[in-house]
């Protein structure tokens, strides 16, 4: 269901609807002057969920949005992308070298596309893929990239979090090309469709192979993916062991149909995989429900989940900082509360 998230900043800004007059005042003659290239992330013939959020952000800039799909077999993805609302054109770069998103190959490709078509904006999600590539493109084009954009006020003015989200900076770019990565959770995903648009070959680019991809170790799961799940159950150091984490955190997640996350402490103690770390330098999530179990709420963890719609916390320490931002806090021993919660949730189904 397509939903517009309400403005987070209330009186601080107007909604980011661009009128022709606004654009005129900001020095753009027409919306036609704005032309955005969106870098599409995909894997196993599926578009990465955060790319759909990045597409929404791209459409908020005004002007046209073209998408770039690169890979060994990009045609099915290109076709899927071409049917998403807001996409005017799709460029395809087909080469096995483009598998695995190596920045040394993607950066020249994006730079070549920008030089040929004069895009004013290059956009990608602030995912591991996007943030690895886009700054390198900025180097090639000699502009300052802007990362982790959470709101677009105009084609040259953006809001982004600093100090682990404890402050919000409003920045204006004076470069002729804006290169931005956007925080997926700050924009709703595009979910409406359109008739397929033109798909054509991307310009040729230099392909010097500086690096080769060797292998990956990914979390394979039937569970919802942490970055895009509507519910997340997250565990902290208080779980005391991997066995407890598996039994209680995963158990509760199963009862709720939720994804699983962890604090840095839990990951460092090896209670769960590093891919599950929620925080300033891990994953930033904003689900409908974030249930923190045995997590004290360090600044860096809060940075990764404070935009969740509803936050609930279970912790035996009444002074735990997590309670300052939780909507519902239960001060109790998680080892009795969580099994009780799991049982009662299962019964009420």
């Amino acid at each position: 269901m397509f939903t517009l998230q309400p403005s987070r900043f209330g009186s601080l800004r107007k909604t980011a609807t661009l009128t022709a007059r606004t654009l005129l005042l900001r020095g753009y003659a027409t919306t036609q002057d704005i032309s955005t290239l969106l870098l599409v992330e995909h894997k196993d013939n599926t578009v990465a969920p955060s790319t759909l959020n990045a597409l929404t952000a791209a459409t908020k800039l005004g002007g046209t949005v073209s998408a770039l799909v690169a890979g060994g077999n990009p045609d099915p993805i290109a076709s899927t992308i071409s049917k998403l609302s807001g996409v005017s054109k799709v460029f395809v770069a087909k080469d096995n070298l483009y598998e695995h998103g190596l920045p040394e190959l993607y950066a020249p490709l994006l730079a070549a596309a920008q030089k040929k078509f004069n895009f004013t904006h290059l956009v990608a999600s602030h995912s591991a893929f996007g943030k690895n590539i886009l700054p390198r493109v900025a180097a090639l084009l000699d502009v300052a990239p802007i990362s982790d954009v959470i709101e677009i006020e105009s084609p040259d003015t953006f809001f982004r979090p600093i100090y682990a989200g404890n402050a919000i900076a409003k920045v204006k770019s004076n470069d002729h090309i804006k290169i931005i990565t956007v925080r997926g959770t700050a924009f709703p995903p595009i979910s409406s469709s359109q008739g397929e648009v033109t798909i054509e070959a991307a310009p040729d680019a230099e392909k010097s192979v500086l690096t080769t991809w060797v292998s990956e170790e990914l979390q394979k799961s039937d569970r919802p993916e942490l970055g895009s799940a509507t519910k997340v159950v997250s565990g902290g150091r208080a779980l005391k062991s991997r066995e407890n984490f598996d039994k209680l955190v995963y158990g509760l997640a199963d009862a709720l149909g939720a994804a699983v996350g962890g604090s840095r402490a839990a990951v460092d103690s090896n209670y769960c995989d590093n891919a599950l770390q929620v925080g300033q330098t891990g994953k930033v999530v904003a689900p409908e429900l974030y249930l923190a179990v045995g997590i004290s709420g360090a600044i860096q963890h809060i940075a990764g989940m404070k935009d969740s719609k509803v936050i609930a916390a279970i912790n035996s320490d009444p002074e735990a900082p997590i309670f300052q931002i939780s909507d519902f806090g239960l001060v109790t021993d998680l080892f009795t509360a969580v099994p009780e919660l799991i049982e009662k949730l299962k019964k009420s189904k």
């Binding site: 390198r136 509803v310 300052q324």
Partner: protein, 256 residues
Amino acid sequence: MSQLRILVGCKRVIDYAVKVRVNQTKTGVETANVKHSLNPFDEIAVEEAVQLKERLSGRISEIIAVTCGPPKSQEVLRTALAMGADRAIHVEVKEEVILQPLGVAKLLKTIVEKERPDLVILGKQAIDDDANQTGQILAGLLNWPQGTFASKLEIDNEAVKVTREVDGGMETISTKLPLIVTTDLRLNVPKFVTLPNIMKAKRKPINVIKADDLKVDITPRLETLSVTDPPTRLGGAKVESVDELISKLKTVGALD
């Protein structure tokens, strides 16, 4: 086997434990009388260089720590030297100069061209601007490979394997020196710096270079129009039992 030189980037930032506050003019955060320290990811970078020196015994000829910043930035070079760097370079700018990742990367590029390191290790992001760009920009400017968000680094002759933290887990790439690496949290755990090492560090050289002398354009491209508090989240409400928790969650539709 040739000897290798490692350059490590260091940034002086507000300490990670400090609760930052937006300043009165809403142009930045309060920095006066606030504790500053070496960016945690840069600490990991220095530690990795030091551990590489031990792991590849005899191969690392020197570890050079570099920072770009006002006079106070030298503090973090002393920390790096105490941790085991051999010498340091301070690219000095005036207090009021605004440095942004593109400018810093350009300054580092000139240092790289002078010092000719085989490996440059930077923190993946500074915990003040959280930009996560400098390493990637530097790699692009030099046309060197980049191994970002590294959780493991293996060097065998000139061949390098970098294991990286990515969204779904980890991936491993294979590349060659010279290389830019940016550090992620789990690359290593920096060792506690001992007092004898802090004393020894006082005798290690810090070479100060004025940024102006490097003839690099570091004019900021981004203007910070304002810095404000994030929307306050009102929390604190407590429930007394698991039953009450379930009931409250149901009421707000969080269990749908």
